[in-house]
């Protein structure tokens, strides 16, 4: 038999076990499954060995286009990953453990998650963080629900410059609940802060913003946060964690709940997942946080140790009254995030942000110099910015993609008034040569 099934028992052992159970055959164990209930089909191919499998997988992987240079982001970013992240997160004791429900034999995971929570607090400038959510989009939806719960209100104001996928996820999550969602359309790639301010009222649970926003623009939401608080509402900020190496943190702006996607912290693109969502908040809201939280405590001898805490918020205790239904989270991806942050360290992480910023500014200038291209607005950006091109952005993007370069996300699909625009992403991995080649090819395509 050349198929792997990882079932170790030998025929002799199976016989012994059946005898010990007191049945004649394995089929007898399936007696509760009456004929009416039996599978009517199970039409799958035969199996294979691991060697054949790898060949099959390799040929699938090879049928993806190789070497496309991505100047796109939209939530996932092509960042460098120090190799230690793979080596350490790949330790079997991390990857093949379950949720650390038994703390004495799970301190590795628990301490790592405590350190992860700390890193998220320090990056965002917030007081408490959980042990991860699914991804950035669902984390934003969870934050919205958390705000509804905290305030007891049912109205949300959302900046239209928040990532369209995230806004769609919020709408999907809330579609069956009695919540009013007010979306404030951005103007030419800038959030319309005045209208956001104006939309706030005493029924509003929260105002939801993103920094840098979907257009890459940076904002200081300090004023909006104050306005929200004046209305008894919360400010929820979605952030791109790499930007926090240099950009004002949401904590400094007065945000109440902060979320984001952790892919850019040491998780591979992997066609969109797994990454992790993070959520952080002011300590006073901790009992309303979704998901698992690790807390510090002591053992019987007074030694420090870590446990899952405040579990009374969670579904396995509170069932339908839980703060969220989440159970499995993205623990290993969060661990990767922590290792990523620890290996770059305080200075290295700041340098990383700076590199992204410098490269994007260079690209901005290089592209702005192309005839027919202009940068959409003069606002400060981090590592993404919007260019308008003379022509249909989607067509140009499609054409240049065939040429091996993903020039940016055409905006027309999400903002019909911007159908000659592209959001261009430039991470630290893009070289000067790649950027200049991009400018040249774009010039040729216009």
């Amino acid at each position: 038999m050349s198929q792997a099934d990882y079932c170790p028992n030998t025929p002799a052992e199976i016989k012994e076990m059946l005898a010990a159970i007191g049945v004649a055959s394995i089929q007898d164990l399936f007696a509760p499954i009456t004929p009416r209930l039996r599978a009517r089909s199970f039409d799958l191919p035969a199996g294979m060995s691991e060697f054949e499998l790898l060949q099959r997988m390799k040929s699938l992987a090879d049928s993806n286009a190789q070497n496309i240079i991505p100047f796109v982001g939209g939530g996932f970013y092509d960042h460098s990953i120090p190799v230690v992240v793979d080596h350490l997160s790949g330790r079997a004791e991390f990857s093949t453990a379950y949720t650390p429900y038994q703390p004495e034999c799970s301190q590795g995971t628990l301490q790592a998650l405590f350190e992860y929570q700390t890193a998220i607090c320090r990056l965002t400038g917030m007081e408490v963080a959980n042990a991860s959510l699914y991804d950035g989009g669902t984390a934003l939806a969870e934050a919205a629900i958390m705000a509804l719960r905290v305030t007891g209100r049912n109205r949300l104001v959302i900046d239209g410059a928040v990532n369209p996928f995230s806004r769609e996820i919020i709408r999907t999550y809330l579609a069956n609940l009695d919540v009013e969602i007010v979306e404030i359309a951005p103007k030419q790639g800038l959030e319309d802060v005045a209208r956001l301010d104006a939309a706030l009222d005493g029924a509003t649970a929260a105002v939801i913003v993103q920094n840098p926003n979907f257009f890459g623009s940076l904002n200081d939401f300090t004023g909006l946060a104050a306005e929200a608080h004046a209305n008894g509402a919360l400010l929820i900020a979605s952030v791109y964690p790499v930007s926090l190496g240099m950009v004002k943190s949401p904590g400094e702006m007065g945000a109440d709940i902060v979320v984001g996607d952790g892919q850019s912290l040491g998780n591979p693109l992997s066609f969109g997942g797994p990454s992790f969502g993070f959520i952080a908040a002011s300590k006073k809201y901790i009992r309303n946080m979704p998901g698992r939280i690790v807390g510090e405590t002591v053992d019987r001898a007074g030694r420090r140790g870590f446990v899952l805490t405040l579990q009374a918020r969670e579904q396995h205790i509170k069932r339908h009254k839980a703060t969220s239904n989440i159970c499995s989270n993205q623990s290993l991806c969060a661990l990767r995030g922590l290792i990523f942050l620890a290996s770059l360290g305080k200075e290295g992480f700041a340098e990383l942000a700076r590199l992204n910023y410098d490269k994007a500014e260079f690209a901005k200038e290089a592209l702005a110099a192309v005839r027919g291209v202009s940068v959409l607005n003069g606002r400060a950006t981090f590592n993404e910015f919007v260019i308008s091109v003379s022509g249909n952005a989607a067509d140009i993007a499609a054409r240049l993609l065939k040429d091996g370069i993903a020039v940016g996300v055409p905006l027309g699909k999400y903002y019909p008034d911007l159908d000659n625009c592209l959001v261009v992403t430039v991470t630290e991995k893009r070289t000067k040569d790649e950027i200049l080649a991009f400018a040249r090819k774009l010039e040729g395509a216009l």
Binding site: T34, E93, Y98, D135, C327, S331, R354, D358
Partner: protein, 480 residues
């Protein structure tokens, strides 16, 4: 062990980035800059390596210990699946979503499409979405689909019915979608009381959520009848696929009458749990629900290539950023491909055999609330041991000292002092025999030396932890 922050020294550097090949740009305006760099650790690469290597060594894991954690299906996950998934690490999802971008990602898209088809065949469903990011996320997605279905039909629905043995995520997920919960008690035989169920069913019930085998490890013989009753009220049947490991090739929920299912790839389909995640919770549906599936959807063209459909006005919308936890999907795809039809059937047969074997060997020493053939797991009660002041948790902690990860304890809630054992198919009789001997030893100690069990564990770097203090102090972020 010290925290990584406690190992920090000002100015110490770890991994280096390449020097910049572009000029430094002007500074950000002051109001957009952070006041001070985040206090991340300042440690060397060696510090990082030693810290996390040593941290890892504080964990039990499948690769180091037998881990019969009921309801979690902690099987051995073949290492080759890691290698397989790594082949797709550099593929950017946004590129595929660009105009004309599908052509660049046919490998990844084919993998997803084939996985959807395999899961549909395995579960007896008509279509599958791979977007949900875990089991609970799949549940929520499934209930949203059900809500969309009822909305489209003009049904007025208010309730979701669950048995009291259900996993907490079931009622929690339904509540996230705005339903009220009706909980049906279990009958003495361990399954949902069918009479109480029948009484509870009204036209206001949107869905009934079941797992089968249920969390007590029993296969409900009334399951088809339950489906029929639900359908009479135009309530849809939701199948929690967390226990699918018991029935591969034996039962297909779709054939039985279920309308929606989620599958925990991280339980049944060979992807590791990562200390809590990531998982993946693909959702399968019957025809009537297909129009509501989340976007993006994959569509196979006549030329055999896969297209991405991002726009479907009837869809419930987007439930996650891209195509779900693709890396997890790649492992599950590889697992199904490698095991094939016969291998998957053998998985369930051996999982059920192993669970029944443990049940048969331990019922002399532990109370067995439901003494009948179990499926992939068996649930004991420590109520006999409780007479000597020994709780399920004490037995659990003693097992740690003996090198075993404890079974699930205190779940399902309907069994007092529950000890829920799921050996999985990847463990040998030899391993189970050793475990059985230690479990018996624990039962004997409960008689003779209960204090020793209450003191356990004594072989770990720490003893039992003060959970009350943790909850009171809420110290969830390092202050230094």
């Amino acid at each position: 062990m010290k925290l990584i922050y406690e190992k920090s020294t000002p100015g110490r550097r770890g991994v280096r980035l390449p020097a910049s090949d572009v000029p430094a740009a002007g500074a950000l305006p002051a109001n957009l800059r952070r006041a001070a760099a985040a206090e991340l650790p300042e440690v060397s690469e060696l510090d990082v390596v030693r810290h996390f290597t040593n941290l890892s060594r504080l964990n039990f894991s499948v690769d180091t210990n037998f881990y019969p954690l009921g309801s979690c299906t902690m099987k051995y996950n073949a290492k080759v699946l890691e290698n397989a998934a790594a082949l797709f690490a550099t593929s950017h999802p946004m590129v595929a979503l660009l105009p004309g971008g599908e052509a660049s990602a046919q490998g990844s898209l084919n993998l997803l499409f084939e996985l959807e088809q395999s899961l549909a065949e395995i579960t007896g469903m008509d279509e599958v979405t791979t977007q949900p990011l875990a089991g609970a996320h799949g549940e929520m997605t499934g209930i949203m689909l059900i809500a969309a279905y009822h909305r489209a039909r003009g049904n007025k629905k208010k309730y979701v019915v669950v048995p009291d043995s259900s996993h907490g995520t079931n009622p929690a997920s339904a509540a996230m979608v705005g339903y009220e919960i009706i909980t049906i008690p279990s009958a003495p035989y361990g399954d949902m009381d069918i009479d109480l169920f029948r009484q509870a069913m009204t036209d206001e019930v949107a869905a009934v959520m079941m797992t089968c085998p249920n969390t007590v490890g029993l296969f409900n013989p009334h399951i088809a009848e339950i489906c029929d009753i639900a359908h009479e009220h135009d309530a849809l049947m939701y199948y929690d696929g967390a226990n699918l490991n018991a029935i591969l090739g034996k039962v297909r929920p779709g054939d039985v009458g279920f309308d929606v299912i989620h599958v925990n790839l991280h339980k049944t389909f060979g992807t590791p749990h990562g200390g809590g995640g990531p998982g993946a919770g693909p959702v399968g549906v019957k025809k009537a629900l297909i129009p509501f599936l989340p976007v993006p959807r994959l569509v196979k063209g006549n030329d055999g290539s896969i297209r991405i459909d991002q726009d479907n006005p009837r869809s419930i919308g987007r439930t996650a950023n891209f195509f779900g936890n693709f890396g997890v999907m790649a492992k599950a795809f590889a697992y199904i491909t490698m095991l094939g039809r016969e291998g998957l059937i053998r998985v369930s047969e051996q999982a059920v055999l192993n669970a029944n074997y443990i049940m048969s060997q331990l019922k002399s020493h532990y109370d067995l609330p439901y003494d009948q053939t179990c499926m992939h797991e068996c649930v004991f009660s420590a109520s006999r041991q409780l007479k000597n002041g020994v709780h399920a948790i004490d037995i659990a902690k003693y097992l740690i000292d003996r090198g075993y990860h404890p079974p699930t304890v205190y779940f399902p809630l309907i069994v007092k002092e529950a000890i829920m054992i799921e050996p999985t198919e990847t463990e040998s009789k030899e391993t189970m025999d050793e475990f059985i001997a230690v479990m018996k030893e624990a039962a004997e100690m409960a008689e003779k030396d209960p204090a020793a069990l209450l003191a356990a564990p004594v072989t770990m770097p720490i003893s039992r932890l003060d959970e009350t203090k943790a909850a009171r102090e809420q110290n969830v972020c390092c202050g230094i």
